[in-house]
């Protein structure tokens, strides 16, 4: 192992841990909140099962607004909210708040798009069989859209990693922050390059896993 990596081994492991914590929380938020929000966006659309213009417009506007923020501004803008939720606006835990919010907005849009790819005929058939809305969602929509949902999550996770790199501004730490503080600001270019390599490997692995899973579960 290169000498510089050995020297900073403890810090690097800590940075990797922080990145995993931030991205992990984002993934949880995406699945727990983003998936239902995206599904609701789909269901409330004109001509769909729960057609509801008000709910659709509100969700749509919210998702668009969050996604149109430059992420750095969103982080700063959310500081009071983060302080209210976590008790502080500084640190890795605080960093998960804006990350989770962008994660929800990001993934819910991709969920909506995946569900739009499900043939309408399948939903018709489900309705004709007497399926309730919940049954249509779980027994038909999610089953038919599953590979799209996985690919969407893969894309999202990679974006979350990218977003997490700037959480240094609120003391969130992580690999990106480490690369800036040690590699860039202390002129250890080789250290910065190693950090970039770690990120590239991480993204490659995630994309590979996501693509493989999506292919295996796609029987269409």
């Amino acid at each position: 192992m290169p000498e510089v990596l050995q020297r900073y081994e403890a810090e690097i492991w800590q940075a990797i841990g922080e990145t995993f914590a931030m991205v992990g929380m984002s993934i949880l938020a995406a699945i727990i909140v983003g998936l239902p929000v995206g599904t609701l966006l789909f269901l409330c659309r004109k001509g769909n099962l729960l057609e509801n213009r008000v709910v659709f417009s509100i969700l749509n506007l919210l998702v668009n607004t969050i996604r149109s923020f430059p992420f750095l501004l969103l982080v700063v803008f959310l500081i009071p909210f983060t302080r209210f939720i976590i008790g502080t606006a500084i640190g890795t835990a605080a960093a998960t708040v804006p990350l989770s919010i962008i994660a929800i907005a990001h993934y819910s849009r991709l969920v909506e798009q995946s569900l739009l790819d499900v043939p309408r005929g399948v939903i018709e058939a489900a309705k004709a069989m007497g399926a309730s809305v919940v049954e249509v969602v779980f027994k038909f929509l999610f089953v038919e859209a599953r590979s799209g949902l996985v690919l969407g999550l893969t894309t999202s996770i990679i974006s979350f990693i990218s977003y997490s790199t700037i959480m240094g501004v609120v003391g969130g730490g992580g690999i990106g922050d480490f690369a800036i503080r040690y590699g860039y600001q202390q002129f250890m270019t080789d250290l910065m390059i190693y950090m970039i390599i770690i990120m590239v490997i991480l993204v490659q692995c995630i994309q590979f896993i996501g693509t493989t899973v999506a292919r295996v579960i796609d029987k269409r």
């Binding site: 005929g121 018709e124 004709a128 007497g130």
Partner: protein
Amino acid sequence: MIQIHDISKRFADYEAIKAVDIEVNEGEIYGIIGASGAGKSTLLRLMNLLEVPDCGEVVVDGKNLMAMKPKQLREARKSMGMIFQHFNLVANLTVYDNVEVCLQLANYPKHQRRERVMECLRFVGLAHLEKQYPQSLSGGQKQRVAIARALANEPKVLLCDEPTSSLDPHTTAEILAVLEEINRTLGVTIVIVSHEMEVIQSICHRVSVMADGSVYKTIDLEPQGIPDVDHTPEYFIEKLTGEVSGDA
């Protein structure tokens, strides 16, 4: 079995169904024929309220569907099977699972599900394909799976929306034979929408001819039986040239 009384349905500025009255008797095969845009599919979809009419009454098996709460309507739909032109199977589920879904929705007793699914698949002659996914099936096989799915919960009515319109004549004949058998052996009332004359002639007991959103006339028929379609080279040559070919 199905009474449609004074039903109208309007889409935006277009009147799809105009004050239609029809009655489908228990145990018959009822055809609906007409040109594209005549409103025949819409009329069929009104029978299980996939399309909600603007006014009128839809009574199935003595119950007025229009007066039902959503939950009651879902229950009523479970005793009405439906098949479609494009089959509408769940591509990510196996043949077996596609049929089983219907039983899950109907809360069919768990320990009897496997037996019932296989019974339905045997009925349509596809028990050996239970582990396949729809993608690997031919059009005719997909429609058989869809029929098995529609039959699983022992419906009283089977609604068929252009069931053979994306199939070749030979497969069409096979599917019609299955439908005829369902009607004859299980006593299921069948409504078939089709634009194909032979489909209606071969198995329907009565037919409504639709035009422009209205029923033009309803006629009693003597089912002609399913034509024997034999796709030998001689058949094609004879059809194309009108000559009986002896060279082959």
